[in-house]
């Protein structure tokens, strides 16, 4: 049998793209992310090229220096958010999936044929509140509390906040603080650039008149076009363009102070009279902020750069031996993710446990095959929340 060593990221299910041999992980659609990069780098280049020489000489050299530091911080946060693993939960291996199915079967008892099986929900008590854990038909796990399945990336993400097309990645437990620092620093940078843009134009106008200033400063054209669209209220226009970034920062500050995610806020999980209160909040704004922003840095549980064996001969003639004819959830509109990797993975893990001779046994399910499940997730509102771009 011919085998070759591959990195695990090459065989991961889900719709992510990987770069730098598995070190970088992003969503598939990256167009809007490139637009974000272009807007930030473009605006800052204009600022540095046309405004900074004047400001450095006439006001202070600290102005471009601070702008440069802020710009580098924004870029670092953006790249960190976009390239890191948001907290993807790996899918259950066949053994674990079968074990869970057996537990569900035992809990549900005998369902008469023709009747729909009850929805797969597990109730857990968290800080004396009952929270329902839903079963993910794609990943074959009961989702931990606060986890959610992203239909765009086709992964369950821990502490799922939202999928952000602007950064080209999901925002979850592992990269939420970088995302927040990105929006915060970008707000500061935008305000900083706009302020000094106005200062620059004002100072030059005092010296040489307003129209001459416009001729001499081509870098201000993009900004001033916006101002001249509304003759009497330039500040209002600036506020409007800033609103999107500053408003977003404000919204996330509000969420952090309550220890909520965007997903929970949209679904209204903790609001309303009949709903339970947020069991994760410490009821103290400072404690909540500290936990979210200064909490421990969680490691990635998705092994991307580990090595595994791939059977080249077995791949060619791979039947779908697992019972995965289950229809996928309503969350994904893409075709069924082919599961032909799963027998490979099961085999490789068997190999790594040095149980080569037992791998044929492992591929046999220990109990009788369960009929494919016919009741997908009925939570339509969650799928809407996933598809809503932020």
């Amino acid at each position: 049998m011919i085998t070759r060593k591959v990195r695990k990221w090459e065989k991961l299910p889900g719709k992510n793209t990987f770069c730098c041999d598995g070190r970088v992980m992003m969503a598939r659609q990256k167009g809007v992310f490139y637009l974000t990069l272009f807007l930030i780098i473009g605006t800052c280049s204009l600022f540095f090229a046309f405004e900074c020489p004047y400001l450095a000489v006439h006001l202070s050299p600290a102005i471009p220096v601070f702008a440069a530091v802020l710009f580098l911080f924004v870029m670092a946060m953006l790249l960190r958010t976009s390239f890191s693993d948001p907290g993807v939960l790996p899918r259950a291996l066949p053994d674990e999936a079968t074990f869970i199915e057996m537990e569900i079967e035992a809990a549900n008892g005998n369902v008469p044929p023709g009747q729909r099986a009850p929805p797969r929900i597990r109730n857990v008590q968290i800080n004396s509140q009952i929270v329902k854990l839903k079963y993910c038909y794609t990943c074959k796990i009961f989702r931990p509390p606060r986890a959610s399945h992203c239909s765009i990336c086709d992964n369950c993400v821990d502490r799922f906040d939202h999928h952000c097309p602007w950064v080209g990645n999901c925002v979850g437990k592992r990269n939420y603080r970088y995302f927040y620092m990105f929006t915060l620093s970008l707000s500061l940078l935008t305000i900083y650039i706009f302020t000094f843009n106005i200062v620059h134009v004002a100072m030059r106008s005092v010296v040489s008149g307003f129209l001459n200033t416009l001729k001499d400063t081509p870098g201000t054209y993009p900004f001033l076009c916006l101002i001249f669209l509304q003759k009497d209220t330039p500040l209002l226009v600036c506020f409007f363009t800033l609103w999107s970034v500053v408003g977003l920062t404000g919204f996330h500050t509000y969420l952090i102070s309550l220890n909520q995610t965007t997903n929970e806020d949209i679904k209204g999980s903790w609001s309303g009279k009949n709903r339970i209160q947020n069991p994760y909040s410490h009821k103290n704004i400072i404690k909540n902020c500290c936990e979210v922003l200064c909490g421990p840095t969680y490691p990635s549980v998705l092994d991307r750069r580990g090595l595994m064996q791939e059977d080249l001969v077995a791949l060619a003639a791979l039947p779908s031996t697992n019972s995965d004819t289950t229809p996928q959830t309503t969350k994904t509109t893409a075709p069924l993710i082919p599961n032909e990797h799963t027998p490979d993975e099961a085999k490789s893990i068997a190999d790594s446990a040095a149980e080569k001779s037992s791998s044929p046994k492992e591929e046999q399910p220990p109990s009788a095959k369960l009929p494919p499940l016919a009741s997908p997730e009925t939570d339509a509102e969650t799928s809407i929340a996933k598809d809503k771009p932020h």
């Binding site: 946060m77 674990e96 074990f99 968290i126 931990p144 421990p296 840095t297 490691p299 092994d303 446990a353």
Partner: protein, 158 residues
Amino acid sequence: MATEFHNLQELRHSASLANKVFVQRDYSEGTTCKFQTKFPTELETRIERSLFEDTVKTLNNYYAEAEKIGGQSYLEGCLACATAYLIFLCMETRYEKVLKKIAKYIQEQNEKIYAPRGLLITDPIERGMRVIEISIYEDRGSSGSSSSSSSVSGSTTR
């Protein structure tokens, strides 16, 4: 014990996988990493309850130490933020240090306690921190039933 294995190597080469037990997460205190200490019925004939509970409790303590929110984690967080998180390129986070300790502990437990009883614990990080997977092995020379571990009593001849 009916099945005796002197070390992990022997376990892997001379035994066959019979069953797997999955110890689930305990969410009663929130989303911090903690595993249930409930003793699985499949292990009743294989290992003493107290040994199993000790292992899970020690693991829970390790994870609690890693996820503790206190002075050290704030310091680490603020310092990292000030350096735009570039410091993580050269420094290991506290969580990663504890994970290494956990890996060593599990290896030690496997060698000393679980392998001699024909069991093997898988590090939870390899299963997405969702479960502690305990593999139950049977001596290959015994009667070849592979579906349940209750046949251990029958495997006296080797």
